[in-house]
Amino acid sequence: MRRFQLSVFCMGFFALAAACTPGANNPPTSSPSVKKGELGNGGFTFRCDDSVACDKYSNAKTFPDAIALGSTFEIEFFLRDDWNGYGYLRDAERGTTIEPVGKYIGRGTSGFAAVDEGTATLSARDQKGWLVDYVIVPVRKPDSLIIYDSEYTGDNPTRLARVTMDVDDHKGFRVVGQRSGQPLAGLITIEWSSSDSNVVAVEGYSRGKVSIVALKNGTATLSAKGGGLAEPQTVDVVVGDVGSGGDAGSDAAQDAGGQ
């Protein structure tokens, strides 16, 4: 019994030590989450998500092709680890900072904000201010927004057009920006509103997720406005047995939103 406890303790200790070793969890350069710097001195990762369900505590599975105008995100830089071969990355040395170039990307409340449409550059500089590497990322204005179920965890969400709920049900939604059918990365700040807050009320909005509650039978339109679009994206929320509403659930739009 004592031997078992000792082995469990040792396993736990080594697992903890491995997790705490700097660079132990760094991605390899071959990972799609890493975009190799233009100078080949390291790699950049995009912290948010694969343009869906923004989670600031995990890196994007794939470095995005484009970022949504008006969105916020984080970028991390890893140095090329020559000691362990080019295929590995190590944590950037203390004092390395990431500086946006020009007007396209600015500093956000946490991390960076895409503030102007164009082709943006983010540079990694060392303590002396010397350039270590840089990455180029297009910033694009979304031409549409996709409202999707916040429980969805993939990278190709379905646009919701109509949702049915029962009284006292709670539900969450997120929004991703699209341009020409392609998803854009970054957390877009959205202003949510309900056309009838006696039927469906917006409870809260945090880290890209809106929470709603169904209060009484009826129909309300939930509107999401943001991403620089003039018209809001909407989803009809049917509460209870109203009209053609059936079992509680969600209907995807037929107009190819989210492909």
């Binding site: 233009e38 020009g102 270590v132 840089y134």
Partner: protein, 131 residues
């Protein structure tokens, strides 16, 4: 005896002057390994052009007439328009387009200005799919 000393002094001074005059002088600056941006840009010995928000990298090496490398220093006269910073890779410089406008960039070899070129930061074209 005195005449001999004067003669030696004159020879010494002349030899020193000849030695100084014949020391290696600045010869040329080679700009190579230019990496332009997806939107273009160039660094040449007569002109620098960088699109706004972009970086153009160049390898800059001044040589003396003994074909030895000299210490380079490159700097922008208006870093708010075009910033020039050293790259961690030896003798590489980054020309950073901060905002549209014109300025001049000074190239130095061993602390002496060897040439000054006009530099331009151009506005970006509208995104392809926004035209």
């Amino acid at each position: 005896m005195k005449l001999l000393n004067v003669k030696n002094l004159v020879i010494g001074v002349v030899a020193a002057l000849v030695a100084i005059a014949c020391g290696p002088d600045y010869s040329r600056t080679e700009i190579s390994g230019t990496k332009s941006s997806p939107l273009g840009g160039e660094v040449k010995s007569n002109h620098v052009a960088v699109p706004e928000g972009m970086i153009v990298k160049a390898h800059v090496v001044p040589y003396n007439d003994d074909n030895e490398q000299m210490q380079a220093h490159v700097w922008s006269h208006d870093p708010d328009i075009l910033e020039v910073i050293a790259v961690v890779n030896d003798r590489d410089y980054a020309f950073i387009g901060k905002k549209p406008g014109s300025t001049t960039v000074e190239f130095q070899a061993d602390g002496e200005t060897v040439f000054v070129v006009t530099a331009e930061v151009t506005t970006q074209p509208p995104p392809e799919d926004a035209k």
